[in-house]
Symmetry: C2
Subunit: 278 residues, 2 copies
């Protein structure tokens, strides 16, 4: 496994592999890796010959009052995990390398970026699409892998790739969970012991919704109202609890197969998201 | 020369050439071609093996009260000119091909897009950078050629390409002029005979500014004030008359070698732009 900090170095190493006819994959991460990330690396490993993982806490996807400074980092541990996951190349650039002072270009997917998480994090997805576009153009991978926990992010990136005719194929990996069902997230470390104990209610209610749907329930209102109530009872402050079309992210009133139930809930200062597909 | 309407067809034809090791070039145009466009095709011809020209009146770079509907079009004449210019491939897509109804992605270069032409045409450059990014990703050319008459556009595209790490090399071609100095533009056809007679004052004053600079004048204010006065005397309504740094497009008060003097002037309903580098 090689670790490099510069765009030039990544390009040189990847180009060497591409010239040999290798299939290149990219797994963009912000580091502080958990089993969720590693499952994406494992998909990349199976589907390509040369796996590139980027470790970069992208400042442009954090709002001014968000947790950029506190975002957890542990480079040595990340590198150790990636070595075990048979990563070929780690790209770990500085802010200066990615955003020189006169960097002024942004990529934005309107509409899809304004709903759900985009309402409480107005510039978040613009930061995501901009850094992903940059990484895609630097690495020029054949495939790139994203997690389904960040469902809206995956939908937005797929739309960007389609609209801008990027050559990459976007794959997604299933949400990986703790034993009690909590979706793995680097931000779970922020939770107090009490909050951590209550947080699995998100997945419990998503599973409950899926069961109710299987039992014939079709009213999103009725399902969501109950979900919200039970989550609030565990101390969660609902940002949103919605049933949406998985492509347009527009709300639906009638549940059907494929409908996405998505949650964003604050436990104390920690914002958790999770989702399930009916 | 082949002419195609679909993204799939362009990609297939270009890929075939790329696989043969050919250097690919792209000249994006909105059609209604004049010698200015053809000079860019000629640069592309000299610098590459396979010349792609796009003919597409891009709706997203027109404001709601601008001249999209009236923009002049003459496909047969354009194709004839491109055939004579030894173009290999013409891409002439429909709006539906470029912007399906659920197309929601935009590329924007902030700062540089807000000054000069961006002040009176607030969404213009976002439309330009979005369509150029799309065309670059569709054709994946080694070089792309733009005209220096649209100086701000060229600066913005170069910045986008740098910021988003696009592989293409951007070349620019000198402004081509009528015998009396008027910069060639598809929009010149809008001018009434009287306006057409007065329009060369733009280039006359740009040349005058260059001469004054050569003679030792360094105050941008003094040069610009005289220029504006003379242009107004010919019936031109000044949108801007500025001296700017050619990379940042920020105004300068002291003229120096490399400073860009740029003009945007309305003659009746026609907005003309021109510029000169000191």
């Amino acid at each position: 496994m090689r670790t490099v900090n510069t765009i030039t170095a990544v390009r040189r190493l990847v180009e060497f592999q591409r010239d040999k006819g290798k299939v290149i994959s990219l797994v963009p991460t912000m580091g502080y890796l958990h089993q969720g990330h590693l499952s994406l690396v494992s998909i990349a490993r199976r589907r390509s010959d040369y796996v590139v993982v980027s470790l970069y806490v992208n400042p442009t996807q954090f709002g001014p009052h968000e947790d950029l400074a506190q975002y957890p980092r542990d480079l040595d541990r990340d590198l150790e995990l990636l070595r075990h996951a048979e990563t070929d190349l780690v790209f770990h650039p500085s802010d200066h390398e990615m955003y020189p002072l006169d960097h002024h270009t942004v990529v934005r997917v309107t509409m899809l970026s304004q709903v759900l998480c985009g309402r409480s994090r107005p510039h978040h997805f613009e930061g995501v699409t901009t850094i992903v576009m940059k990484l895609l153009n630097i690495v020029e991978p054949d495939i790139a892998v994203f997690g389904e926990k960040d469902f809206q992010q995956a939908v937005i990136i797929k739309r960007m790739v389609r609209d801008l005719h990027c050559r990459v194929k976007i794959l997604t990996g299933k949400t990986i969970r703790e034993k009690d069902g909590l979706a793995m997230s680097s931000r779970n470390t922020y939770l107090s012991p009490g909050e951590r104990k209550n947080a699995p209610i998100l997945y419990q209610m998503l599973q409950w919704a899926k069961k109710r749907f299987a039992a014939g329930m079709r009213s999103s209102d009725r399902v969501l109202t109950t979900m919200a109530k039970k989550i609030q009872a565990k101390g969660g402050l609902i940002d949103y609890a919605v049933a949406v079309d998985p492509d347009t992210l527009q709300r639906v009133t009638i549940l059907k197969k494929g409908t996405l139930i998505a949650l964003a809930v604050n436990f104390g200062k920690t914002r958790l998201i999770d989702n399930i597909t009916l």
